[in-house]
Amino acid sequence: MAEITYLEAIREALFEEMERDPNVFCLGEDIGAYGGAFKVTDGLMATFGEARVVDSPISEIGIVGAAAGAAHMGMRPVVEMQFIDFIANAYDMLTNYVATARYRAFLPCPMVVRGPSGGYVRGGPFHSQNPEAGFIHTPGLKVVYPSTAADAKGLMKAAIRDDDCVLFFEHKYLYRRIKGEMPSGDHVVPIGKARVAREGTDLSIITYAATVYKALDAAEQLEREDGLSVEVIDLRSLAPLDDEAIVATVKKTNRVLIVHEDTRTGGIAGELTARINESCFEWLDAPVLRVTAHDVPLPYAPTLEDFVLPQTPDIVLAARRLAAY
């Protein structure tokens, strides 16, 4: 089977789900006639018509709210944030309205909010964000952030079929750089399950999205240069977290490095550390370390962005420190 890109994999999932279920529809700014700022929804309007691929005004509160209303009525809307950074505008609607709908009012709210996320693309402070921390904090929301093309497709299908709201973060650096074969048939990746991206026995790197590749590169280098066997866990789902997979890798390697592209303070590494600490304290041979972005808005110039974001050498350095502990 031919390989397709991460971006095409998302598009394929949208196509297949819209074909499968007439209740699925897309809503967003410039997603129809134009096919979206990154062309993720390219061709959808031509195939499914204007009624199911709705070009909206610039109104993130409006479209997230409208999606919720449609979801209550049995639809399964997929909302695009043109850049995920603008999800901040819908923070109230997502955390107060959508996340609580089932709990406080028994209203089903099956919807997906998706959008290009992440840095390494010289996008500056408002086109590079990783807003997951603000949402995994909210009970009622699910959050996924795939790193491979196959997971992008399989998780999108799972997200659309999920009976609750799923935030689907797409790493824009991976859009066209990552390719993969699509598993045949109805390929659905369950939400809440991590993936072992590389097996290892000496230490574990827990990460997700673009930094999975940095971790894999670091693992390669550490094997080559240090003879270290590094396990890499790709979380894929950030809410709910796959506690089983996390515990399994900690108990296996006894040393954990968490890597995320998000800023450090309040990033998801804290939650992971707390969970590991609570459940596997006795298995830890070293402190849980974290390699993250610096705590600054992400600057635009390449020298600055590269400095602020985590890089492979950082992971290598931290892993060595951890192995030597």
Partner: protein
């Protein structure tokens, strides 16, 4: 109009309908009548009276500290709530606000539900999870509000977008206060619905105040219908204390929506005679203002006068009043018997999957860490919590 078929043709139908909420007919058969029969006008009277008496009942319960949290009144606004909701058909959906108890009753919410809800009972519609009248039922046709103002406008845009997508002849109605028109959510929602020509009626209840803030500090617009121009949508304006005028204005919007002609903004001019909630002493209201509205412009008194002038006997109205009280007595008795929610139910149904959260380890196996209403010693002298605003 085709509303409450079952009760047509009988002068006492109104009271019958009052016992069980009117079984309104299918929207598809809806005519576009903006005039009402006597039976219907009696129904309006009944709903307004029920609204007011239910709130009075709640005030008693509140004073007995049986209400948990704040209590919100719609005194003097019963016509705007009831008349506008009455303009909808079965299958239509509305989203009420804190002053729309009457709208919910018209749509089939029961006094028993309201009482249980205010008393945070375990068998209340939200099982004790949400406050006061924050609940809904899409079957009966109302969707529960949340506190952040304006948020229901985009939501109802999505509800009605669905009606349109599916080609269903259903209509949505969403209420916003004069204050809530200042929110970004209101703006984004009404604009989205306008562009998409959703079958939506947006009712702006201009009751003169948002909490303590007079309308003049909320907008510089002369009137809220002026906002319709900026959205390129139709508008209606009515005396919100005239239940029939309210009905008719809303009905024109509803009919327009059902005809596929998009959004109407309906401004209903009314007055909030009580404070924002029971704790609010209305110190900011100019002297005499409330009294004037009470004296000259009570919506129930006005409607009663209209009915009387049209030949309805004082007995008929008195019977309706008595029936309302009987129903409320029954409902109150029942509601008081209900138990409080089981603590573990707090962990059920955040998601469809998983169906429940597990209790945290320091609670495992226990009903709750505290069975009584625990309070740290170090907090010093107890004072009752301030009853919060909505």
């Amino acid at each position: 109009m085709a509303r409450s078929d079952a009760k047509r043709g009988g002068g006492r139908g109104a009271r019958t309908s009052a016992a069980t909420p009117p079984a309104a007919v299918d929207g598809r058969g809806a005519t576009t009548a903006t005039t009402l029969s006597e039976v219907q006008e009696l129904e309006l009277y009944y709903w307004m009276r029920l609204t007011r008496s239910l709130e009075e009942r709640l005030v008693n319960l509140y004073r007995q500290t049986k209400v948990v949290g704040g209590l919100f009144r719609s005194l003097g606004q019963e016509a705007d709530a009831v008349g506008s909701a009455y303009a909808l058909e079965k299958g239509d959906i509305l989203s009420p606000l804190i002053r729309n108890l009457g709208s919910m009753l018209v749509k089939g919410a029961t006094p028993l539900e309201i009482l249980r809800q205010y008393m945070a009972k375990g068998d209340s519609p939200t099982r004790g999870r949400e406050l006061n009248i924050h609940f809904g039922d899409t079957e009966r046709g109302f969707i529960g509000q949340i506190s952040p103002l304006g948020d229901m406008v985009p939501v109802m845009a999505g509800v009605t977008l669905t009606f349109k997508m599916r080609g269903e002849p259903r209509v949505g109605l969403v209420y916003v206060g004069d204050g809530a028109t200042s929110t970004g959510a209101f703006h984004e929602g009404i604009n989205f619905a306008a562009v998409q020509r959703c079958p939506l009626v947006v009712v702006v209840e201009n009751n003169g105040y948002a909490y303590s803030t007079p309308t003049s500090r909320q907008t510089r617009a002369r009137q809220f219908v002026d906002k319709a121009i900026g959205y390129g949508i139709a508008s209606e304006q009515a005396d919100g204390n005239d239940v029939v005028a309210t009905y008719a204005a809303t009905r024109r919007g509803v009919d327009r929506a059902r005809r596929g002609e998009g959004v109407t903004l309906v401004e209903l001019i009314t007055y909030r005679r009580k404070g924002h909630a029971e704790h609010d002493n209305q110190s900011y209201v100019p002297a005499g203002e409330i009294e004037r509205w009470e004296r000259e412009n009570d919506p129930i008194a006005r409607h009663a006068a209209r009915l009387t002038a049209a030949g309805v006997s004082a007995d008929t109205l008195a019977e309706l009043d008595a029936r309302v009280l009987r129903e409320l007595d029954e409902a109150t008795d029942l509601a008081e018997q209900s138990g409080v929610p089981e603590p573990l139910d707090a962990l059920v149904g955040i998601y469809a999957d998983p169906p429940a959260e597990r209790p945290l380890w320091f609670r495992e196996g226990k009903r709750a860490a505290v069975d009584a209403n625990e309070r740290p010693q170090s907090w010093g002298t107890f004072e009752a919590p301030a009853k919060g605003a909505d």
